[in-house]
C-alpha cells in the first residue's frame, strides 16, 4: 500500500522523500532487538520465579499457576506505570516490554490514568481499552476462527 501511495505523489515529493530518507536517523534495529531480547527475557524470568513461588508455597500446579502469575505481573506493571517508571523502561526496551503481558497491562492502565480527568464513565470507562482494545478484538476473533477450524477438522477427519 505504501508503494501505491508513493506512486501517486508528484515527482517533486518523491524526490524529496528520497532526499530526506537519507538524512533520517534510523532505528538501531540490531541494538533494539538485543535490548528487547534481554529485557523481555528478564520479565519472563520474573514470571517464572513467580510461577515457581506459587507452585512451591501454594497448592498450584504447572497448569494452574498461569493465572495468578499473570495477575501478579499485571499488578506489578500497574505499580510501575503509576509511578511513571514503565514508560521509561519501555523507551529503552521497545518490544521487550510491549510483547509480554505487562505491555498489555501498561496499555490499559496508562489509558485509565490518562483519561481520569474526563470522569469515571466517559473518561476511564470508555477510553481505558483505547490502546488495548484491538488486542482483545482480534484476539477473540482469531480464537473463534481457530476454534471453528478445530471443530471442522475433528468432525470430518474423526480425530
Amino acid at each position: 500500500m505504501a508503494d501505491k501511495k508513493k506512486k501517486n505523489l508528484p515527482p517533486e515529493a518523491q524526490q524529496y522523500q528520497a532526499f530526506q530518507q537519507k538524512r533520517e536517523t534510523k532505528r538501531p534495529l540490531f541494538k533494539n532487538c538485543l535490548k528487547a531480547f534481554f529485557v523481555g527475557g528478564f520479565i519472563c524470568f520474573i514470571g517464572q520465579l513467580i510461577t515457581t513461588f506459587y507452585i512451591y508455597f501454594f497448592n498450584f500446579t504447572e497448569q494452574t499457576a498461569g493465572n495468578p502469575t499473570t495477575a501478579t505481573l499485571i499488578f506489578l506493571t500497574m505499580l510501575a506505570t503509576g509511578f511513571g517508571i514503565y514508560d521509561r523502561i519501555g523507551q529503552f526496551a521497545g518490544a521487550g516490554t510491549t510483547v509480554p503481558v505487562t505491555g498489555f497491562g501498561n496499555a490499559v492502565i496508562a489509558s485509565a490514568i490518562e483519561h481520569r480527568t474526563e470522569g469515571f464513565i466517559m473518561g476511564v470507562g470508555s477510553s481505558m481499552l483505547k490502546l488495548a482494545g484491538p488486542v482483545i478484538v482480534y484476539g477473540v476473533f482469531s480464537a473463534f476462527i481457530v476454534a471453528l477450524i478445530k471443530t471442522f477438522l475433528t468432525k470430518w477427519s474423526g480425530f
Binding site: 522523500q17 538524512r23 506505570t81 514508560d87 519501555g90 496499555a107 492502565i109 490518562e114 480527568t117
Partner: protein, 338 residues
C-alpha cells in the same frame, strides 16, 4: 506595506516592548534556564489536568509581560494566540481570564510567528496601540492529543521530538524601547507527502525552506544580512535537511548562522530524541533567549521562522500526509533600545 507576493514590510517599526517567558521543570534543566521569567517545578502546576496547566502557563506569560511595563492590561487592545489542543481551548480559557479582545489562531507550532506577524501588521497600520502575542504548549497535553497516554511504554523512534512545556508572550507596542519588528513573510502550506507523525522535522523542513527562500528574495537581502536565521522546531533531522536544501537552492546560509529553537532549548543528553518541538519551543527561545541577546546588543538582526505541522490525529489515522507551514518574522535591535 506589501513587498513581493507575501512579505510585509513594517515601516512604522512596531516594538517588542516586553516579553513573558514561562517554563516547566524539564525546561528548567535545559540549556537556557536563565532566559525564563518563571520556572515551575511541577508539570501539573497544581491543576487537575495538563490542559489547565497549559492555560496557567499562558496566563502567567501574559501577566509577566504586562507587569514588566507596569501598565494596566486594559490598555492592551488585543490578545492574539493559539495552541495545539482540541479547538485551542487552553488558549480560549486563558483569553477569558486575561479578559481582553482575542483572536484565536491555529498554525500548530508556527502559531507564535503567525501571531507576531499579525500583531505587527495591525499595530503598523494603527489598528492598535498594544497587542499581546504569544503561545503555549504542554508536553503531557500534547502527548495525549497527538500520541499515546503519557505513561504508555511504547518506544519512540529517534526521529521523534519532545513537545516543550511552557509559554512565551510578547507585548507589542506602537512605540517604546525594545527590539523592533521589521518584516514578515507568510508561509504557504507545503506537503511533500510525509505520513509519519514521528518525523515532524523531515515533514516541516521543505516549508521552512520555501518561506526562507521567499523572504530573502522578496526582501532582496543576502542571508548574511541576519545574524541568525532561527527555525522553530525542526530539530536535528529537519535542520540538517533544510540546511542542505537551502544550500542546494544556492542560498548561502552558514551552519553557525542557522539555528533551531528545539535544539537551543534543551541540553545535550536530555531524552528529547531528535530535539524539542511545540508552539512554546519557538516562543520561549525567541522571546526569552534571542530578545535578551538583541537587548544586550550582542546581535542585531534575526529572522525567526516558526514551522508547524498542520495534521490532526484523525487525518493521520485516515492515512493523510502531513501538511506543513512556516511563517517568518524579522526582528532587529531598535534605535530606542538600551
Amino acid at each position: 506595506m506589501l513587498i513581493g507576493h507575501r512579505t510585509w514590510l513594517f515601516t512604522n517599526k512596531p516594538v517588542i516592548a516586553s516579553t513573558g517567558v514561562v517554563g516547566g521543570p524539564f525546561e528548567a534543566r535545559g540549556n537556557i534556564p536563565n532566559d525564563f521569567d518563571i520556572l515551575h517545578d511541577d508539570t501539573w502546576l497544581k491543576q487537575d489536568s495538563f490542559e489547565k496547566a497549559q492555560q496557567i502557563l499562558m496566563e502567567e506569560a501574559c501577566q509577566v509581560a504586562v507587569k514588566k511595563l507596569s501598565m494596566d492590561k486594559e490598555q492592551v487592545q488585543f490578545f492574539i494566540s493559539g495552541d495545539l489542543i482540541n479547538q485551542i481551548t487552553p488558549t480560549n480559557f486563558a483569553a477569558k481570564t486575561i479578559g481582553i479582545p482575542y483572536f484565536g489562531l491555529f498554525s500548530a507550532c508556527a502559531t507564535s510567528m503567525e501571531s507576531l506577524a499579525l500583531s505587527a501588521f495591525i499595530i503598523n497600520n494603527n489598528g492598535a496601540n498594544y497587542i499581546l502575542s504569544g503561545t503555549a504548549s504542554h508536553n503531557s497535553a500534547a502527548e495525549r492529543q497527538f500520541r499515546y497516554p503519557t505513561e504508555y511504554g511504547g518506544q519512540k523512534p529517534p526521529t521523534a521530538q519532545w513537545t516543550a512545556t511552557g509559554a512565551g508572550c510578547a507585548l507589542i507596542a506602537k512605540e517604546g524601547k525594545g527590539p523592533v519588528i521589521t518584516s514578515a513573510t507568510i508561509g504557504k502550506v507545503v506537503d511533500m507527502g510525509i505520513t509519519d507523525p514521528f518525523n515532524m522535522g523531515g515533514a516541516m523542513a521543505p516549508a521552512a525552506v520555501d518561506t526562507i527562500t521567499t523572504h530573502l528574495k522578496e526582501k532582496n537581502v543576502d542571508p548574511s544580512y541576519y545574524d541568525y536565521i532561527i527555525t522553530g522546531d525542526l530539530a536535528h533531522i529537519g535542520r540538517e535537511i533544510s540546511l542542505d536544501l537551502l544550500q542546494k537552492n544556492g542560498i548561502n546560509v552558514t551552519a553557525e548562522q542557522y539555528v533551531d529553537c528545539g535544539l537551543i532549548l534543551y541540553r545535550e543528553g536530555q531524552p528529547v530524541l531528535a530535539g524539542g518541538s511545540g508552539p512554546a519551543s519557538s516562543a520561549i527561545v525567541t522571546y526569552g533567549h534571542f530578545i535578551n541577546l538583541l537587548k544586550k546588543g550582542e546581535i542585531n538582526r534575526i529572522l525567526v521562522v516558526a514551522t508547524g505541522a498542520l495534521h490532526s490525529p484523525l487525518s493521520v489515522n485516515q492515512g493523510d500526509s502531513i501538511p506543513c507551514i512556516a511563517h517568518a518574522v524579522s526582528i532587529e535591535s531598535g534605535s530606542g533600545s538600551s
